[in-house]
């Protein structure tokens, strides 16, 4: 069974007990669509809070990181026949009322993926990293690492495939696969709250930043010259 007009909201969460409940409630009240929280092996009560707030919880048994969690949600969404998936962070930095702005380019057929961009939020180091990746990949996007995105069915199918399962971060690797499959990505300016609690899982120590830059650079270089190809069939 498919729901061409229905959409699903996917929220990857790792130890987001203080914020996840209110976000789930806000999304459900505003958009009246199912909310799925993918619990990435939290050690607090994230799963219970999300479930109590009315979300479906997908409990991962091993920690897969933000992208692995989102892919789990995308596979779940495809299995249940949803045609649009919106992802947002569980820490409260994305405004659920901006989901409408994200869905607009998809509904108008202007894009397959819409990214909620708020480049002003970035620190100097993060901006340098983004400029570097833009230069390396030729991607024309301002906010490469934003987790606030909307995917249509074609994009969901591509990103739920085995090909996207070895990606470690939800940014350049994902964008490169989308580009290679000939899918269109646009940015939509959105407002963003300061991260309520906790810190970015990538930009939290120099060691992790270094590893991230090295791995992502290698990924970009390895993908140079790969031409766009049509989307693969559903997983």
């Amino acid at each position: 069974m498919t729901h061409p007009d229905r959409r699903i909201v996917l929220i990857p969460a790792y130890n987001e007990e203080p914020t996840v409940g209110s976000i789930v409630c806000q999304v459900r009240q505003l958009w009246r669509c199912p909310v799925v929280v993918i619990d990435d092996c939290s050690t607090d009560a994230t799963a219970q809070v999300a479930r109590a707030a009315g979300a479906t919880v997908l409990p991962l048994t091993i920690q897969l990181g933000a992208w692995g969690a989102i892919q789990t949600g995308l596979r779940h969404a495809l299995r249940h026949g949803y045609h649009t998936a919106i992802t947002l962070d569980a820490d409260g930095q994305h405004e659920p009322q901006d989901i409408g702005a994200l869905l607009q380019p998809l509904a108008a057929g202007e894009a397959d993926v819409a990214i909620g961009a708020f480049p002003e939020r970035a620190s100097r180091a993060r901006r340098i990293a983004w400029s570097y990746f833009r230069w390396l990949t030729g991607l024309q996007l301002e906010d490469i690492t934003s987790g606030f995105r909307a995917y249509n069915h074609a994009a969901m199918a591509v990103l739920a495939s085995r090909e996207a399962s070895l990606i470690d971060y939800q940014d350049v690797g994902v964008l490169l696969i989308l580009r290679r499959k000939g899918l269109r990505t646009v940015e939509v300016p959105v407002s963003m709250q300061p991260r309520a609690l906790g810190a970015s899982r990538v930009f939290r120590s120099w060691w992790i930043v270094g590893k991230y830059l090295l791995q992502t650079s290698l990924l970009c270089i390895a993908r140079v010259g790969l031409n766009p190809s049509p989307p693969a069939p559903d997983d």
């Binding site: 919880v57 997908l58 991962l60 892919q71 789990t72 779940h76 085995r162 070895l166």
Partner: protein
């Protein structure tokens, strides 16, 4: 006086015996067993006929034959390590997708997964 050939034979045969033992005991999965049986056979052959390298090196224009053994052995190790990482990557992909599927299945039966996540006295 132990000769070079005797030492070489002892090393080659011992290694071959250990590998064959591990394969027989089913400690090595099929495709890996094939590689290691090949390695055991090569080591045993070279153990019995260490002069093979001298002949081969001469034909390949290498003036110091032992270096041929070292270079070939090192190359084979690199190939083996590379295939190991390929296999690890394949397994990593499988494990990730398996964990994702498990999460999807658990979401279909949350009551049971909650119950199973409770500590239990029974093994």
């Amino acid at each position: 006086m132990i000769t070079y050939q005797l030492t070489s034979m002892a090393i080659g045969v011992s290694l071959a015996i250990v590998i064959l033992f591990l394969v027989r005991r089913d400690h090595l999965h099929g495709p890996y067993a094939v590689w290691w049986i090949g390695a055991a056979a090569t080591v045993a052959l070279l153990g019995f006929f260490p002069r093979l390298f001298d002949v081969l090196a001469l034909k390949l224009g290498i003036s110091y034959p032992p270096i041929l053994a070292i270079v070939l052995g090192f190359s084979m190790l690199v190939v083996k390590i590379l295939t190991m990482d390929l296999e690890r990557s394949r397994q990593e992909r499988l494990i990730r997708r398996l964990a994702q599927r498990l999460a999807m299945l658990e979401a279909q039966a949350p009551e049971r997964s909650d119950a199973s996540s409770q500590p239990s006295d029974t093994p």
